[in-house]
């Protein structure tokens, strides 16, 4: 059994050590895999705020992931084709600058989360799951029919977007960017969890009636958590599209939403590092087992089943010997 705080540092160091080793061993593909794990982890960290702390089982987080992806795709597409982006009343130029893309992705996915949250937070349980799924499906089908930006075929971006002072085409440098963002968001998440707002959110999940009786509005607290959650997953979407230099409707798919939930369950619901462990393991299995058999999901399913049955606190709960996220 190991203290969770030590374990958390170990996990982060592990995720950092793999690409550094790959760099010395000259295995750029391994760096890309680690980058993929970091980005999926970031997306799941976003979901974990809503799902883990707030108890909001969103089965539509791919919607924010896709919004982030398409923000990157559309802005970069207009930049690479030197065409202005027509927004009706006025038009703007595209951009290849990561910080600007991130900012737009954060704002738009946060805004989407606010609207979706307003409408779906009135429901709970299975209905909440279904409504969030329905919203994500709307985005999915819209993106398929949006021929301006590739429709079903998606949108390719030829050169990765730039970050001032860095060469983003160098795998290790791009990994660095994603890793730093992941650490930053994890730090924010940790602060949020221990803050008065986190306390209220945590209570709003467990006993909404109590939260109301002390004069707080559980709806508004959950809504804000949902917005923060959606914005973070949107940021991850922009990075994911940049990693692949490609964005397609797949990013909006319900399989993607399901994947995020699976990542969290594997790592541990509501655990700070749960998404990081889940995403790392997922990418590892996808790579190793995916090389052996096309049906590697069977093994993933088996692992998920074992965790749900025997380690309710996920891998982190299993390793720390503590089932509950909150100790």
């Amino acid at each position: 059994m190991i203290r969770e705080s030590y374990l958390n540092w170990l996990i982060l160091l592990g995720l950092l050590a793999v690409p550094i080793w790959a760099l010395t061993a000259d295995e750029p593909f391994t760096i890309t895999l680690a980058t993929r794990a970091a980005i999926l982890a970031l997306a799941a960290v976003g979901l974990n705020i809503a799902l883990g702390i707030g108890g909001l089982v969103s089965f539509g987080h791919a919607m924010f992931f896709g919004i982030g992806g398409y923000v990157m795709g559309i802005l970069a597409y207009h930049a690479q084709s030197f065409t202005p982006l027509d927004l009706g009343a006025f038009s703007i130029a595209g951009t290849k600058s990561m910080p600007i893309i991130w900012l737009v992705a954060l704002i738009l996915s946060g805004l989407a989360a606010w609207i979706v949250g307003l409408l779906s937070l009135r429901t709970g349980g299975v209905y909440f799951i279904m409504i969030t799924l329905a919203f994500a499906q709307m985005f999915f089908y819209f993106s398929i029919s949006w021929s301006t930006y590739g429709g079903e075929d998606g949108l390719s971006i030829y050169v990765r977007n730039g970050f001032p002072g860095l060469n983003t085409l160098d795998p290790i440098q791009f990994f660095g960017i994603c890793f730093v963002l992941l650490c930053l968001v994890l730090f924010l998440n940790a602060r949020l969890q221990g803050s008065p707002f986190g306390l209220a959110l945590n209570a709003a999940r467990q006993v909404p009636a109590r939260v109301e009786t002390v004069g707080l509005d559980p709806m508004r607290i959950k809504l804000l958590a949902f917005v923060i959650s959606g914005a973070i997953t949107g940021l991850a979407g922009a990075l994911f599209a940049d990693l692949n230099r490609f964005v397609s409707p797949t990013m909006f798919s319900w399989q993607m939403s399901g994947e995020f939930i699976v990542l969290i369950i594997i790592g541990g619901v509501g655990r700070l590092m749960g998404p990081v462990v889940g995403a790392s393991l997922f990418v590892l299995l996808e790579h190793w087992l995916g090389g052996l058999t096309e049906f590697w999901h069977i093994y993933l399913g088996t692992i998920l089943l074992l965790i749900v049955l025997f380690a309710r606190g996920g891998l982190i709960g299993f390793l720390t010997g503590k089932e509950g996220a909150h100790v």
Binding site: S195, F197, A200, T213
Partner: protein
């Protein structure tokens, strides 16, 4: 004549053919403990719900400190000074005792939008939470998880959370529920000391506690107030005994 802190005027609520609350008018005066008793199904819980904002009455008014709060939300009523304890403890079981009290203090502060500060390091919240825990004798249990508390301690924590709100009126829904004789006695002493802080509307089945604490008693049967008055009058009233004990037996 003093202004009542809390007052209901001709509250009515029915569910289909069932009239759960029928023209109920009661008031809560400063410094008193006003007990509401009645057999099961008399409409006590429905009454509490309407006072606290969980249910909207079909008719009638709820007045808090002279203001009509009939259509105000639960949160708004809490902010206006109403503190409620639940019949079945509504506590965040995964959280520590201190955190449960901190939540009350956070509600009282009215500023939940703090994302950076540590909740347990926020001096304004912590002082308030610890004072409330101290008052109910749970201060040394602050780090314990709520799920590990005994039933009696949870009942005390319910009261502590209400205390953090520094309310103008307490609404207590069967605070003695499930307590043994010793626990009941302990909580009775605690509530006895609270009346100076704010009056208590006490819904309770434990008659020993009611007679030990109440200044006035209202008897509710089938949604109607059949008697209200000082303890001695109610105790002496034949009609009450018949209606209440007759139906309860």
């Amino acid at each position: 004549m003093f202004e009542p802190v809390l007052e209901t005027r001709n509250l009515c609520k029915s569910f289909g053919a069932l009239t759960a609350t029928d023209q109920v008018s009661i008031d809560l005066r400063p410094g008193e403990i006003h007990a509401v008793i009645g057999p099961n199904g008399a409409g006590k819980s429905t009454l509490i719900q309407q006072i606290c904002g969980g249910l909207r009455p079909d008719n009638g008014q709820v007045m808090l400190l002279g203001k009509d709060v009939t259509s105000a939300s639960t949160q708004a009523r809490a902010k206006a000074g109403l503190a409620r304890t639940f019949q079945i403890s509504a506590l965040a079981m995964e959280d520590s005792v201190l955190e449960n009290a901190l939540l009350g203090a956070l509600g009282a502060s009215g500023r939940p939008w703090r994302f950076w500060q540590r909740a347990s390091a926020a001096v304004d919240l912590r002082d308030r939470a610890e004072a409330a825990l101290d008052r109910v004798g749970l201060l040394d249990q602050g780090d314990k998880r709520c799920a590990e508390l005994s039933h009696g301690q949870r009942r005390q924590l319910e009261v502590a959370v209400a205390l953090t709100l520094a309310p103008r009126a307490f609404i207590m829904d069967e605070p003695m529920a499930g307590l043994g004789a010793a626990g009941s006695k302990q909580l009775t002493d605690l509530l006895d000391g609270l009346r100076g802080q704010a009056p208590i509307l006490l819904v309770e089945h434990d008659m020993d506690a009611v007679f030990a604490l109440a200044d006035r008693i209202t008897v509710l049967v089938s949604g109607k107030v059949i008697a209200t008055g000082p303890v001695e009058d109610i105790r002496a009233s034949g009609a009450v005994r018949e209606a209440y004990l007759g139906e309860a037996a």
